[in-house]
């Protein structure tokens, strides 16, 4: 059963008793004035009733950010961002939510239909008042109980700061230090919320933390901060995003995700992101600049990143693994599509510090239209990473002759017993292949979909099952109109 249907049925079962709270519209809109300065940072911290240590933390990050320069080295071009021309806390709604689906852009609805998203979910995504009114707190309660039984904490970062401050203090900023890069510093100063997951020793999280996330992610924050901690022997699988195209008022998204895996722990983090890519001329799309890093602190720990990126005007993200613990494993599986005028500069960094650490990188880039797709990867083997192993496979598929596919791998090996293997290939959808499929009865669109999915197969099979199916459909839709 698709995750979406399960979600709604659960919601409905919970709502059978009826609700006290109506659906919120434009009531409480407290917001900070435009711009970014120390006062705004204080305002945010105060609004969230944060302890002193966290305010200090934010201010340090803010000072660091002021001293930094925006990076311009990625192979992406975009007009300069005015950081003072934005709201950093609760932007007022400029438009009222549509009253029914008939007010929604039919293009968007067509996409929802193709992705197989049921009507109710469509309404939810558009912020339309639903009959089965539910309160996010109530639904949260149901799942929370199930998780609490195991000792698992899954809540917002804000809640975690209040209820588990020692955990937050110990781990936040330990994987991505404030001064790590421009966007991480910005995020550390003004982050408003995000997810916090803590799985105690020896516990296997009994459910994919994705179903739950769907409900909570009605409006994704601009500066999200996520922290996932898996103690010794713990396992957890977390899915971020959804296949439905997400529009947002805010153009810049600069999230920070930190993962910590102790001895024998395993964290699987999957992302299916379909941010609004801008119109066919490339205007108005989302800029997605994210810092994601996982620390394999413990021996035999494992962190696995899987991503399907089909949206956003500009993507700049390098989910990375620091392989510290002996025998730890880092994996990166990625499909990135750029069509029309999209630009993606994405890849990974695998830093091997401990002995017998292993990393696998499989990156599939698909360029169509005038899209520019760059894989940028770093494999660094430190002198103590004896017998470390890396295998990288980087494949590009070009559709049409107006797009570009680029590969920029950095391989740095300081350990003689380590072995690094890197391979990159470029191909296109050959006419022979298309004709073969069509002669067998498949339409051109279906043929392209079939071949592209075949190309991405290795990556798609790493996704949690219910999303693999949606991801396949998503790939096909993203390439509409690109062939011929």
């Amino acid at each position: 059963m698709p995750a979406v249907t399960e979600t709604l049925e659960t919601v409905q079962s919970v709502t059978e008793q009826g609700y006290k709270w109506g659906f919120e519209t434009d009531i409480e809109m407290e917001f900070a004035p435009k711009g970014l300065n120390e006062d705004i940072v204080r305002f945010i911290s105060a609004k969230k009733h944060e302890p002193e240590w966290l305010l200090e933390w934010r201010l340090r990050a803010f000072k660091a950010w002021q001293a930094m320069e925006e990076p311009r080295w990625a192979a992406v071009k975009y007009p300069p961002i005015d950081y003072q021309d934005a709201y950093y806390y609760a932007a007022p709604k400029r438009k009222a939510a549509p009253k029914s689906l008939s007010e929604v852009d039919p293009e968007l609805l067509r996409t929802y239909e193709k992705l197989g998203i049921p009507l109710k979910e469509q309404e939810l995504l558009q912020g339309i008042a639903v009959d089965a009114v539910f309160d996010s707190v109530s639904v949260a309660t149901t799942f929370k109980e199930r998780l609490e039984k195991e000792g698992i904490v899954f809540c917002s970062i804000s809640e975690a700061v209040q209820n588990h401050p020692e955990l937050v203090r110990r781990y936040m900023g330990s994987v991505v230090p404030q001064g790590d890069n421009y966007y991480a510093a910005l995020n550390s100063a003004v982050f408003t919320d995000g997810s916090f997951v803590f799985v105690p020793k020896g516990v296997r999280c009994p459910m994919e933390l994705s179903t739950y996330f769907r409900i909570n992610a009605k409006s994704t924050g601009q500066f999200e901060r996520t922290l996932i901690i898996a103690e010794e022997g713990a396992t957890v699988s977390y899915l971020e995003g959804c296949t439905a195209p997400m529009r947002d008022e805010n153009q810049l998204h600069a999230a920070v995700v930190e993962l910590v895996a102790l001895d024998e722990a395993s964290i699987k983090y999957s992302t299916v992101q379909n941010w609004y890519p801008g119109d066919a001329e490339g205007r108005g799309g989302i800029y997605n600049f994210v810092t994601k890093r996982g620390a394999c602190r413990g021996a035999r720990s494992k962190i696995s990143w899987t991503q399907v990126e089909t949206g956003s005007a500009i993507t700049w993200k390098y989910p990375s693994c620091i392989l510290q613990g002996a025998d730890s494993v880092g994996e990166f599986y990625s499909v990135a599509i750029t069509n029309n005028h999209q630009q993606a500069d994405t890849g990974t960094k695998m830093i091997h510090l401990g002995p017998r650490t292993k990393s696998t990188i499989v990156s599939k880039g698909i360029s169509a239209g005038q899209g520019q797709n760059t894989y940028r990867g770093l494999v660094r083997i430190g002198p103590k990473a004896t017998h470390a192993r890396n295998f990288t496979q980087c494949d590009s598929l070009l559709i049409g002759d107006r797009c570009g596919a680029h590969t920029v791998p950095y391989i740095e090996n300081r350990c003689m017993t380590a072995k690094v293997e890197h391979e990159a290939t470029t191909s296109r959808i050959a006419e022979d292949q298309l004709f073969y499929c069509r002669q067998r009865g498949l339409s051109e669109e279906d043929s392209v979909g079939l071949i592209v999915n075949g190309f991405c197969r290795e990556v798609l099979k790493e996704l949690p099952m219910e999303f693999a199916v949606e991801a396949q459909k998503l790939l096909q839709i993203s390439l509409e109109g690109s062939v011929g």
Partner: protein, 248 residues
């Protein structure tokens, strides 16, 4: 079933087919033989609707419909099947997935119900058995790492599943040893029926010992210059194409 009248076609501006006339009645097997460069493969690509092969004149009627006006997948849905001479590879696309998708696309266009994975597998297993092909062929990528013989057999397997009304076999025997040839021929023969027709395109007579045609046509410089019964093939084998080419 198939009626070709005065068909002329060009490839990259060069005329290859120069007025082909051919009629293949329902239920019959016709062979097209000819020297290299005579236009055999071009004819099969034109019938299947491949881009780059430009029809400059003439008409092709398939089961009463104007074949040349149809897209490749529409021709497939109408019942045309081309067994390629050099089947292409589709990395990452599972053989079973591919065939089921194609079968269902064709069934859908005919208003028939689609098969689910289990139903398809059952059907596929049957065909594999009768073709003496191993079941693991279904799990492999389409033609990926297949030997020449395996690729040809994969084409016949698809033919068995899609049950076309008109099967065009483009030099199916090239690159096959006798044993593989027999398996392929057995497969083709098993699919012969009064409702379907087959067009066998070949350079050598050998295949026609196993797939015995009702009529044999000789294609030289883009035109059919002679037609006859199965004995014409043997005559060609004995004498070569020289005499016929000279006369053309």
């Amino acid at each position: 079933m198939l009626k070709i009248e005065g068909l002329t076609a060009e490839v990259e501006g060069k005329p290859i087919l120069n007025g082909v006339d051919l009629e293949v009645p329902q239920g019959e097997v016709h062979a097209i033989m000819g020297p290299n460069g005579s236009g055999k493969s071009t004819l099969s690509y034109v019938l299947a609707g491949r881009e780059g092969y430009e029809v400059t004149g003439g008409a092709v009627t398939f089961r009463g419909q104007d074949l040349l006006a149809m897209e490749p997948e529409e021709r497939a849905a109408a019942g045309v099947f081309l067994a390629f001479q050099y089947p292409v590879e589709l990395p990452g696309v599972g053989n079973a997935t591919f065939m089921r998708t194609a079968l269902n696309a064709i069934r859908k266009s005919r208003g028939e119900s689609e098969l689910d994975a289990m139903q398809f597998l059952k059907l596929a297993r049957q065909e594999l058995k009768s073709l003496s092909m191993p079941e693991d062929m279904l799990k492999r990528g389409v033609n990926v790492g297949f030997s020449g013989g395996e690729k040809k057999r994969n084409e016949i397997l698809q033919m068995a599943l899609l049950r076309p009304a008109l099967a065009i076999l483009d030099e199916t025997d090239s690159g096959l040893d006798i044993d593989a040839l027999k398996i392929v021929a057995d497969g083709v023969n098993a699919l012969r029926s009064p409702e379907s027709s087959t067009l066998v395109i070949t350079h050598y007579q050998r295949l026609l010992n196993y797939i015995v045609p009702d009529r044999v046509h000789v294609l030289v410089q883009g035109r059919i210059v002679r037609s006859g019964g199965p004995e014409l093939a043997k005559e060609l084998e004995a004498q070569g194409y020289g005499a016929i080419q000279a006369a053309a």
